[in-house]
């Protein structure tokens, strides 16, 4: 179970390859891996977005993500989970969030991955500020899942 908040750009697929290498030997027990990657779009609410600043609450953010990861492990029979979330200055197309869940069975993997994303979006302390052609604006609410 791992949680990472990073201000460096990350490539989700190489993160996953690397994480699985560290967990070598688990693959043959796992069977099912469900992954979600959310990336920065270049549009929002009808406007072109040229850049983004992502703020977080160092300490609370990690604690919250660890809490939901632990809760997912009690609600589903999971082998492991990984959450990576970007902060700082982003460009369109940059990956923002990666949620990966490993389980023996696909039902648990799918459900836990989706649940983690919804919990993350609902309450994890992150805030987005979008850069538009005419100045910047804080995003006021998340889209429902």
């Amino acid at each position: 179970m791992s949680v990472r908040v990073t201000d460096a750009a990350f490539e989700p697929w190489s993160q996953l390859a690397e994480y699985q290498r560290e967990q070598a030997g688990r693959a043959a027990k796992t069977g099912a891996t469900a992954v979600f990657v959310g990336s920065m779009r270049d549009f929002n609410e009808g406007d072109e977005v040229s850049g983004m600043f992502l703020e977080h609450y160092p300490g609370m953010t990690e604690k919250y993500l660890e809490k939901i990861s632990a809760t997912a492990c009690t609600r589903w029979d999971l082998e492991d989970s990984l959450i990576v979330h970007r902060v700082g200055e982003l460009s369109p197309g940059d990956p923002i969030v990666l949620v990966a869940v490993w389980s023996a069975h696909r039902k648990a993997a799918f459900e836990a991955c989706r649940w983690l994303m919804e919990e993350l979006k609902a309450k994890a302390p992150f805030w987005k500020k979008e850069q538009l052609a005419k100045g910047s604006r804080w995003v006021e609410h998340n889209t429902p899942g």
């Binding site: 959310g38 703020e55 977080h56 609370m60 604690k63 923002i96 969030v97 609902a122 609410h141």
Partner: protein, 79 residues
């Protein structure tokens, strides 16, 4: 007693500071910390609060040395 106050995102910009210390009477609640920290803002509509990095309601009691954070609805993730 003294408590540490932190602001994030739009609230940090409105407050003009990411953090400050306020004095509140013993037995004060998060709501009283909000009033002491933001004297010009009468309402806390759409403001979330955390005490020592855990979500709390505005009626939650506060103790000496607590870190109370105020922030707008969160907008993390993507998709």
């Amino acid at each position: 007693m003294r408590v540490q106050v932190r602001f994030f995102a739009a609230l940090r910009e409105r407050a003009g500071t990411p953090a400050l210390e306020v004095k509140v009477p013993a037995g004060a609640t998060v709501a009283e910390v909000w009033s002491a920290a933001t004297p010009e803002e009468s309402f806390a509509d759409n403001v979330l609060a955390a005490k020592n990095m855990q979500y709390v309601g505005f009626d939650s009691p506060v103790e000496e040395g607590d870190e109370i954070a105020f922030f707008p609805p969160v907008t993390g993730g993507a998709g």
